[in-house]
């Protein structure tokens, strides 16, 4: 895991800027890992949003069918 992690980190180093304006020390390692997690989480989040849309679509159909005629 260490070797893979290092390779990925080196790749990320070229993509990321560390913003040092804040009064808190965000920590370089914390910056990099959250970008990596954010990348994966964004995929999962997209699926979640897509799933919610499907559910709400079927719910709206159900409501329409149950409406008194």
């Amino acid at each position: 895991m260490d070797k893979n992690f290092c390779c990925f980190s080196v790749f990320i180093v070229f993509l990321v800027a560390v913003n040092a304006d804040a009064y808190l020390d965000a920590g370089t390692g914390s910056y990099f890992i959250q970008i990596l997690i954010g990348f994966v989480a964004a995929g999962l989040f997209s699926l979640k949003l897509f799933w919610k849309r499907i559910i709400s679509f079927f719910k709206s159909i159900g409501k329409r069918n149950n409406r008194p005629k």
Partner: protein, 462 residues
């Protein structure tokens, strides 16, 4: 001549600071924070957080009250009379505080702002619910920037919650040792291997710790940034989902079933409640401090009389049960806290002043100390004099229960040790407490060997 006192914990953030004037708390907003503060108000973020009850409301006050010349605004937040710290919270209190922080972060993002810190000390409990108290924690969101407070959030909230769940619920006490949250490298050593198979734990804690170790002390060039707002929202959502589903199963504890495991009859219990209620009516209207209050039965008696109460107990199970009752019943006048009264929270941080000791923060009108004296005097070898002095220093009235040696609960404590407590007698108890208090009334509990006393602090003599 000014008479303001600066809050000892308010020095890290150059955006402003907290001070007291004539016993009231104010916050100075410095000019350096002007653009952030203006956006905080003009974007509607303040109003939304305030309307949802997520943020402690404030009013802008007279700028003439400024302490230094670089003041932009003076604000007066709603005054809180109880301040508690994360190591005094049970699992669900910390969990709710964590979820509040993340919810605020998501709302802030929608208004073009972001939380620049995520300290657990920015949360307080008000009317039974957590509220965010640091108005100056918001800054303008810069497109592409990762969350500057991510590490702090993990160390202050995520790690303690996970350690409480997977290791031991008493792990929250570590927050007392690690002022800026429990270090990740320390946490990974305490967690079981099964945590590696959970995406949130694997990434936010294990990989995060690895990343910190790898990049520790390395110089990194500033270049093209890259974390979209969507990715940031997804990151927060991922932590929210994990924490919502992070549950700690209530287990039996020494005290969790206290009221079904006593030597009391139902009648004696009902009579004890009646006596305490009568005594409470004779005291004034301020805060009630219920020491060793278990699941808060007697604190609620005070609540029913319109009194605000803080219920302390050493047992995290009892405090968890109490907090869940507060939450489920939407109770507004009761704050349960984990506290060992024989070793209460000390002053910690810079100069031992950054986080105040518990007794520096609390000023009670009335103490309730029921079924407690024998634990202090026998389990902890505390002389009556010392107990009386502590109690007189923190209250005006004291409702205390005397439990004689013949009581089965005291016999239980003495079963495994030598009885060296020759001074443990009703006469000695009255004599020692009478040095600090006047005995207003004492009523025996029928069907038991116990007596409940109402004491009032002796007026100070010159």
């Amino acid at each position: 001549m000014t008479n303001e006192i600066l809050e000892s914990s308010s020095f890290r953030d150059p955006s402003g600071f907290v001070f007291y004037r004539n016993g009231q708390l104010y916050r100075q907003v410095n000019l350096v924070y002007k653009s952030n503060y203006d956006l905080f108000i003009s974007s509607g973020l303040y109003n939304e957080l305030n309307n949802k009850g997520l943020l402690l409301p404030h009013q802008e006050d007279d700028i003439k009250k400024a302490v230094t010349e670089d003041a932009y605004k003076i604000i007066k937040p709603l005054q809180l009379n109880i301040i508690s710290y994360p190591y005094e919270w049970c699992f669900s209190q910390l969990k709710d505080a964590a979820l509040l922080t993340l919810e605020i972060q998501q709302i802030a993002l929608q208004h073009g702002m972001v939380l620049k810190d995520a300290s657990a000390y920015n949360i307080q409990f008000y009317k039974g619910k957590p509220v965010f108290i640091d108005t100056l924690s918001f800054e303008v969101y810069k497109e592409g920037s990762p969350w500057v407070a991510y590490r702090q959030f993990c160390q202050h909230f995520l790690v303690p919650l996970v350690l409480m769940k997977y290791n031991d619920v008493r792990m929250n006490q570590l927050s007392k040792v690690f002022l800026d949250g429990i270090p990740l490298d320390f946490a990974v050593k305490q967690l079981p291997t099964k945590c590696l198979f959970n995406f949130a734990l694997f990434s936010h804690i294990f990989m995060h710790a690895k990343s910190q170790k790898y990049f520790g002390g390395k110089q990194v060039a500033k270049s093209i940034h890259s974390m979209s707002k969507f990715q940031l929202t997804a990151l927060i959502d991922n932590m929210q989902s994990f924490i919502v589903n992070c549950r700690w199963k209530l287990k039996d504890s020494e005290w969790g079933n206290y009221y079904s495991d006593t030597n009391y009859s139902d009648e004696a219990h009902a009579q004890k409640q009646k006596i305490v209620r009568q005594f409470l009516l004779q005291t004034s209207s301020g805060l009630v401090l219920d020491i060793g209050g278990n699941v808060g039965t007697y604190s609620r008696l005070a609540n029913n009389l319109g009194r605000e109460a803080v219920c302390l107990d050493i047992d995290p199970v009892a405090v968890e049960k109490n907090y869940l009752s507060v939450k489920n019943s939407d109770e507004k006048k009761l704050l349960p806290l984990i506290m060992d009264v024989t070793n209460p929270s000390p002053g910690i941080g810079w100069g031992n002043e950054e986080r105040q000791s518990f007794f520096q923060r609390i000023s009670a009108d009335t103490i309730i100390a029921l079924a407690l004296l024998h634990h202090l005097a026998i389990s902890n070898n505390l002389p009556f004099q010392k107990i009386a002095v502590l109690f007189r220093n923190i209250c005006k009235y004291c409702i205390i229960e005397w439990i004689p040696k013949e009581d089965s609960q005291v016999q239980r404590l003495l079963a495994t040790r030598q009885d060296i407590f020759t001074n443990y007698s009703k006469e000695q108890f009255e004599k020692c407490f009478n040095q600090q208090f006047d005995i207003i009334e004492k009523v025996p509990i029928e069907g038991s060997l116990r007596t409940v006393y109402l004491l009032m602090v002796k007026t100070k003599r010159n």
